[in-house]
Symmetry: C2
Subunit: 453 residues, 2 copies
């Protein structure tokens, strides 16, 4: 009560692209009476019975929606059961003082005097703990909790609270040295080579053979995007899939790579050609780990933060680290929850990436990093969209790439098959990213502008 | 109309362990009037509006059920849409003569004279074709169609009708020689080594590198259980998962291995340790392909047929090939649809397999085939269940195995961790298979009886 469920619930529904149902309003609409009136006429037990009935119906739909439940709904056993069985349930946290201030004098039947309001608050806490899979204080927090993503300074030191049961760890030597995790493990850590060299068939083949977990075990992946991609794929396929926990240690990982369940390794024929969709049981993001991140690695991640900010229509790149990570992670989590198998909407996350991949191929993956390529790719996407490029220029200061112009163009054309002289690219509009067709000549010109002579 | 939807629908619901809803009866229960009365009072359009409303509600539940719809429901656009979006829709086929004989004189408002009945039948055929993902004539047929499984003599020659769009083929040399498929392919077939040698990491690594399909492509796996297991896993992981079509050519494959979406390869550390759940877009089973199957291979499959018959409580092993395959495939399909991720019920399919795996390990996978081991394992499971063993003895005539007794027992204990001196095994009861705890000494004795001195 007084936690802001109606306002925040509506924001969550917008982020997730689902209808919003406020259970109290729904009950009022159906009965034609206010909650206060129903309490008066039927007593609390009469209201609870009605509430349980409407909740069961709303939670029984095949179509997904965001449902806000009043704080007392959990007092009914059937509602608790339905919340456990049928919903990702997130508790909106509020301090009792704040809740009382917001609820008093608002005709709420159970907020008439402070003493009983506070005793109610205390009594319900264990019930909330029983049904809630996560806790939050705002819409981004609800989305993160629904996706099993924890973003919190210091979260890394509490990793053992998240990883339940038998576990093994995959990481790389540098990360293990900087951030030794305090976790009880079944075996010594599996140490991968760093960077893209971790994302090979040989790596996952080694993991498959080394793992000793049974189906109930958890694989913890600690490291950058390459470690989480490879270990996540091993978890997706070992014993036909076991739980995994992603613990990203780089900015790229924390705002992008470790979120959303895409796992993959590379083939000599191309990147990410082998993989699986396998959502982590939890993703634990501790922005404090970024303190040890080298500046050039940070810039890699900032390219994705700027991309996310452009898509979200907010200057996320100007926020302090903890907030920048939290907001970016929430944006990506929402998109991935809306489109977990990458069938449409999620592709808007590729803003700038068509050009980036072309530049990387043009450089034969040698002389340009992914982040620098994305920064340049964003310039091209913004120009094609007819939008200002100053955010990219000021934050990422990309220099034209010294890559083979023709090879880059051929890679782009191979990647995005031309139809009737048009290529599909992600552009930016007032409402965010969208896939669109652009004339081949325009795309080629935009690519060309990114390349130094 | 007159196709038997109420009777067959109830049988399907039993097979799938779901509630059965007959839409006409539901409408009658809600209105307190018979369908004939509703037609009289509100006209056909009034009935259709009511029908669409109740259908939308029934199809909108998150909980799965088997829903029987009257033949005219598809005349409403909204119902067709809901059937396409929300259900696996199967058309119950019936000849117009039979339908008329069953429907006439039964107070069915649209079956009053034969000429208009027949014209109705003709008019609705294209609507059925539009919404139905499959066709069937009995409960097993509905289950198979719902699982995308086609069992039909001659189905192999019509493979091209099932495989849509760009495709590549995986098979082995012997099968390709016996059964060259008539399919337009993007590349020459990918030829695997035969038997378990196909189920290696090296095989799938080769497939990953050789495949040229994009996300919209289909991988066709033609062969025994080893080919479908390995190719299915490649399809599950190539580009994070593409469609695949399983075309089993052995009896084991047709009644067991190719059904239910389990794919896997072996590691030196053990069988099936790496894999994925990836349900085939279609499973095409042509019992005529069994004509070329060597007798010993056939016996391998019969062990699974006997197991299936014991679980189903029917002497499936006495049926002619086409029917034996169809019934066995339907039984497995139903169990797998009920428990696609192997979280409980599906484990009853392991009847006898705990002992079989122990015998195979005792023989170091050399001197005993899987089918012979299963035949013996069934004996042990039946004895532990206190049930007659004659079906196994008469059909499979298993001889005691010459394997290392201690090695077999240690393998069984490693496989099924003992809890309080008890081991979990699948037993057979009057209602089918069930997982149960058995005293370690009894299990050891039952295993011992399978082994020759």
């Amino acid at each position: 009560m007084g936690a802001g469920k109606s306002t925040i619930g509506a924001e969550v529904a917008k982020l997730l692209g689902r209808p919003f149902v406020d259970l109290d309003r729904e009950i009022e609409a159906r009965t034609g009476a206010s909650v206060a009136q129903i309490f008066e006429e039927r007593g609390e037990s009469g209201f609870r019975a009605l509430e349980a009935e409407v909740a069961a119906e709303e939670l029984g739909h095949a179509a997904l929606s965001v449902l806000a439940l009043g704080g007392g709904a959990v007092e009914t056993e059937a509602v608790r059961q339905a919340l456990t069985d049928r919903a990702a349930t997130v508790l909106l946290e509020v301090e009792p003082d704040a809740a009382w201030e917001r609820s008093r004098g608002k005709k709420r039947p159970l907020a008439r005097d402070e003493a009983s309001f506070r005793s109610l608050y205390e009594r319900r806490q264990p019930l909330y703990a029983q049904v809630a899979g996560g806790r939050a204080r705002d819409a981004d927090g609800v989305v993160l909790a629904a996706g099993g993503v924890v973003v919190e300074p210091g979260a890394f030191s509490r990793l053992a609270e998240v990883v339940e049961g038998p576990a093994e760890l995959v990481s790389d030597a540098r990360v293990l040295e900087l951030h030794p995790p305090s976790l009880a493990l079944q075996t010594p850590p599996h140490v991968l080579r760093s960077g893209e060299e971790a994302k090979t068939i040989e790596t996952v083949a080694r993991l498959w053979r080394e793992l000793r977990l049974d189906r109930g075990g958890t694989l913890v992946a600690l490291g950058g995007g390459c470690v989480t991609d490879a270990a996540g794929f091993a978890a997706a396929t070992y014993l036909r899939g076991i739980d995994w926990v992603a613990v990203p240690t780089t900015l790229v990982g924390q705002v992008d790579a470790a979120i959303g369940g895409k796992t993959a390794v590379n083939l000599p024929e191309g990147k990410n050609l082998v993989g699986a969709f396998h959502w982590p049981a939890s993703t634990v993001i501790d922005p404090e780990l970024l303190a040890t991140l080298p500046a050039e690695q940070r810039l890699e991640g900032m390219a994705e933060v700027v991309k996310t900010g452009l898509l979200a229509g907010e200057q996320l790149w100007e926020l302090p680290d903890a907030e920048l990570v939290r907001r970016s992670a929430a944006f990506k989590t929402a998109l991935c929850l809306r489109d977990p198998y990458d069938r449409g909407l999620r592709q808007t996350l590729n803003l700038g990436h068509t050009f980036a991949h072309a530049l990387e191929a043009g450089a034969e993956y040698e002389t340009i990093t992914h982040g620098r390529a994305v920064a340049l790719g964003l310039l091209a996407a913004l120009r094609l969209s007819g939008r200002p490029t100053d955010a990219v220029e000021e934050t990422l200061a990309p220099e034209p790439a010294r890559v083979d112009r023709e090879r880059a163009w051929q890679a782009l054309k191979r990647d995005k098959k031309s139809t009737g002289g048009e290529l599909r690219v992600v552009l930016l509009g007032d409402e965010g990213g969208y896939a669109a067709s652009a004339p081949e000549a325009d795309v080629r010109r935009a690519l060309g502008e990114l390349i130094a002579d």
